[in-house]
C-alpha cells in the first residue's frame, strides 16, 4: 500500500533522513534514466574506440596536438592564457625536449619515418623525463593561441592529476578525457536522432554507431584537440534544436540550447558560424507558439534563456581576456597574422569566390583558386574518408571510390525515405532549413578563415575535421537511409552499414599501425 494513503493507525513511520548529497545523487540518477540504455552502449563503443585510437596514434601525431598541449601547460603553470610571440616562440624546455626525443619533428609530414623503434630512443626519452626541465615556455601556444580556454581548462584537470608526471604521461591522461568527450558526442547524436526521427530505435543506434566508428572522428577523439569539445557542443545544439522543434520551445529547452551554444563558443570560435541559423531557429520556434499566450510566454522565456546563456560565457571570456589575461579574445589578427607582411591584398569578391570554390566548381567569372585540386573531392570527401596524422597518410584512392559508392547508395535511400515522408517533411521544412543553415554557416566560417590564411601566408587552412561539428547530420542521413528498409529490412540494413563502418575503422587503424610501427 502506498504510505501516502495509509491512515495514522500506529505511530507515523519515522521519516528517513536523506542527506542532500544522496538526494542530489538520486536526482542525477533519475535524470540519467531518461537516456536509453542503447545510447549508453553507443557511448561506451565510442569511448573504447577513441581510447584505442589514443593508444595507436603516437604522442603528438594528432594535428596541432603540440600546440594544444602547450596551451594547457601555459594555463596550469602560469594561470595565464597564451600570448602569441613574433615569430612563433619556443615551447617549454620540457615539451620541446620531449618532442625532439620522440623524433616528432622528423615524423610530421614524413610518412616514411616511423615512431621510435629502438631501446636507445626509449633511453633518450626517459632521460629527458628524468631531467625535470622547466614546464614554462615563452607563453606561445602556436596554432592554439587564438582559441578560447574552456577545453584547456577541462584538460588542466588530467594534467594536474599527475603532478610529477612527464609530458607523455600527462598527454595520455588528457587524451583519455578527449575520448570521453567523443563518447558524450556519440550519446548526443543518439539523443538527436531520437528527437529528429522518432519511432525506429534501431535507426538511432545505427546513426550513433556510424559516428562512433567514423575513423576521422575517432582519430581526433583519441587526441588532445579542442575540436573534441566543439563537436560535443555542436551535436548538443542539434539535439536541443530537434527537441525544441518537436516539443516546442520552453525554458528548459532554451537553457539546453543556450548552454551548448555558450560553452561551445568558448571551446572554439568556429561555432560563430552557427549563429545566423540559430537566430532563424528561435524566430521559427517563437512564431510557432505565438498564437497561444501560454505557449508564447514559455517560448519567449526559452528564447531569452538561450540568448542569455549562449552569450554569457563569451562575454565573460572577453572581459577576462582583457582585464585578467591582458590579451584580446582573438589575439592574432587573422588577416595580418603575427605581424608578417600580407602576401595578397584583401578583396571581398575574391573572398566570396574563395568560399564558393572551397565547396563547388568555379562559376564562369571566377578565377580558379584551387587549380591543382578539387576541394570537394580532395579536401573534404577523401579527407573525411580518412587522412590521418598531420595529414601525411591516407587510404589509397580506390577506398574513397568505394566509400563514394556506399555513400551514394545511402544518400539515395535517405532521399527515398524523405520522399516517402514528404507530408511530414512539408510540416518540418523550417526545421530542415535550420539544419541546412547550420551547415552553410559553418562552411562560410571555414571559408573565411581559409581565405584569410591564404592572403596572409599563401598556405592552406582547411582540413576535413572542420566539418565534423555537423557529424550529427551525417548520422541523420544514415538513420534516414536505414529507415527506408522498413521494419522488415531496416535492422538488417542498419547491421550492414555498421559492420561496414567497423571494417572502415579497423582498416584505418591498420594503416596507422603500418605508418608508425612497421
Amino acid at each position: 500500500m502506498n504510505s501516502r494513503f495509509s491512515g495514522p493507525v500506529s505511530a507515523p513511520p519515522r521519516a528517513r533522513t536523506v542527506s542532500p548529497a544522496r538526494a542530489r545523487a538520486r536526482a542525477i540518477r533519475t535524470r540519467l534514466r531518461i537516456v536509453p540504455r542503447a545510447a549508453w552502449v553507443c557511448a561506451l563503443v565510442a569511448l573504447a574506440n577513441g581510447l584505442a585510437w589514443s593508444l595507436i596514434t603516437p604522442p603528438f601525431q594528432v594535428p596541432d596536438e603540440n600546440a594544444h598541449y602547450a596551451y594547457v601547460q601555459q594555463l596550469v603553470q602560469t594561470g595565464d592564457l597564451p600570448h602569441p610571440a613574433t615569430p612563433a616562440g619556443a615551447l617549454s624546455p620540457q615539451q620541446d625536449a620531449t618532442l625532439s626525443a620522440i623524433d616528432f619533428y622528423w615524423m610530421v609530414g614524413r610518412p616514411y619515418n616511423p615512431a621510435p623503434f629502438t631501446d636507445l630512443q626509449q633511453h633518450a626519452i626517459e632521460q629527458v623525463a628524468s631531467e625535470k626541465l622547466s614546464a614554462r615556455g615563452t607563453g606561445d601556444a602556436l596554432t592554439a593561441d587564438n582559441n578560447p580556454p574552456l577545453y584547456y581548462a577541462i584538460e588542466a584537470v588530467p594534467y594536474m592529476l599527475m603532478p610529477g608526471g612527464g609530458v607523455l604521461d600527462r598527454l595520455a591522461l588528457m587524451r583519455a578525457v578527449s575520448a570521453l568527450m567523443g563518447a558524450i558526442t556519440v550519446l548526443l547524436v543518439f539523443m538527436f536522432l531520437r528527437e529528429l526521427l522518432p519511432s525506429r530505435r534501431w535507426a538511432w543506434s545505427a546513426g550513433a554507431l556510424l559516428v562512433a566508428f567514423q575513423p576521422m572522428f575517432a582519430f581526433i577523439s583519441g587526441g588532445v584537440n579542442n575540436d573534441n569539445l566543439l563537436y560535443l557542443a555542436a551535436t548538443g545544439i542539434l539535439w536541443a534544436l530537434a527537441r525544441a522543434f518537436r516539443r516546442g520551445l520552453d525554458r528548459g529547452g532554451g537553457l539546453l540550447l543556450g548552454a551548448f551554444l555558450g560553452f561551445g563558443l568558448v571551446a572554439k570560435l568556429n561555432l560563430l558560424g552557427f549563429l545566423p541559423a540559430l537566430a532563424l531557429a528561435l524566430l521559427l520556434l517563437l512564431r510557432r507558439s505565438w498564437a497561444s499566450p501560454d505557449a508564447r510566454r514559455e517560448a519567449l522565456r526559452g528564447a531569452g534563456a538561450a540568448v542569455l546563456l549562449g552569450a554569457a560565457p563569451l562575454v565573460v571570456y572577453e572581459l577576462l581576456a582583457h582585464l585578467l589575461w591582458n590579451r584580446g579574445a582573438v589575439p592574432i589578427d587573422v588577416v595580418t597574422g603575427r605581424g608578417a607582411a600580407v602576401l595578397h591584398k584583401f578583396n571581398f569578391r575574391g573572398e566570396l569566390s574563395h568560399i564558393w570554390e572551397l565547396y563547388f566548381a568555379p562559376l564562369g567569372h571566377m578565377r580558379d583558386q584551387f587549380p591543382h585540386l578539387l576541394p570537394i573531392w580532395d579536401t573534404w570527401f577523401r579527407g573525411l574518408v580518412g587522412r590521418f596524422g598531420w595529414l601525411d597518410y591516407e587510404f589509397p584512392e580506390w577506398t574513397s571510390w568505394t566509400v563514394l559508392g556506399v555513400a551514394g547508395a545511402l544518400v539515395t535511400l535517405a532521399l527515398g525515405e524523405l520522399a516517402r515522408c514528404r507530408h511530414a517533411l512539408r510540416r518540418r521544412i523550417g526545421e530542415l532549413a535550420v539544419y541546412a543553415g547550420l551547415l552553410a554557416g559553418l562552411c562560410v566560417e571555414i571559408g573565411i578563415e581559409s581565405y584569410h590564411t591564404y592572403i596572409q601566408t599563401g598556405g592552406q587552412f582547411e582540413q576535413p575535421r572542420y566539418l565534423l561539428p555537423m557529424i550529427g547530420l551525417y548520422a541523420a542521413i544514415v538513420a534516414l537511409a536505414v529507415r527506408f528498409g522498413g521494419r522488415r529490412f531496416g535492422p538488417a540494413l542498419a547491421a550492414a552499414v555498421v559492420v561496414l563502418a567497423i571494417g572502415h575503422d579497423l582498416y584505418a587503424q591498420a594503416i596507422t599501425i603500418a605508418r608508425y610501427y612497421a
Partner: protein, 214 residues
Amino acid sequence: MTLARSVVVAGLLAIAVAAGLVLSRSAPRRSGTDVIPAENFVEPLARGEQLCQSHEQLPADTQAVRLLIDAHGQPVGRLGVRFTGGAGQIITTGALRAGSAQGIVRIPLSLVRDTSEARFCLRNYGPSTIRLAGASDQPGVSLSIGRHLIEDQSVRVEYMRPGRESWLALTGALAHRFSLGRAFFMSAWALPAALLLLAISISGAVYLLTRESA
C-alpha cells in the same frame, strides 16, 4: 536467426577473413631508420671513395640496409658497407654485388644482435660515380667523404629485418615498438590494451545490433 543477425555474422566473418589475409601477407620489414628524409641527393661518391656518417642507431635484428641510389642510369657497381662501434670495433659488414639496378637497393649484412650507436660507412667499389639519397640542407647533421667533412648533409639509411615476414610474425616486434615513447603507466600493455578496447567497442556494437533486431 534474424536477417540482421545473419548480416552481422557474415560481415564480421568477412572482416576476419580480410584481416587474416592481410596479417598473413609476407613482405620485407624494417627494423628502423635514421629518420633522415630522402629528399635530395648528397655529394657524389666517386669510384673508390668512402662515405661515412656517425650517430646511426643500428637496431637489433637488422640483416640489411636499404638505400636509394642514383647511378646515372647505369647498373650500380659493387658496394661495401661497414658499421663500427665507439671503439672502432666492427659490428656488422655487408656488400652489394655489382649489377643491381639503380633506385632502392638492399645491401645484406650479417645479423645484428643488439641495438647500438654506430658509424656507418659505404665504399663505392664500382667503376662510376653514384649519388645517395638523403638530406642535403639539414642543419645539425654531417657526413664525410674520404677526409672531407660535409656539414648539413646526411644519407637516409633504412634498416631491414631478415627475409620476409608476415604481420603475425612481427607481432612481438610491434608490441615492443608500441611500448616505446609512451606514458610510464601504459608502456608494456599499450598494444594489448588497444586490442582489448577494440574488442569491447565491436562487442558493444554487435550487442546493440543483435538486441535491437530481435
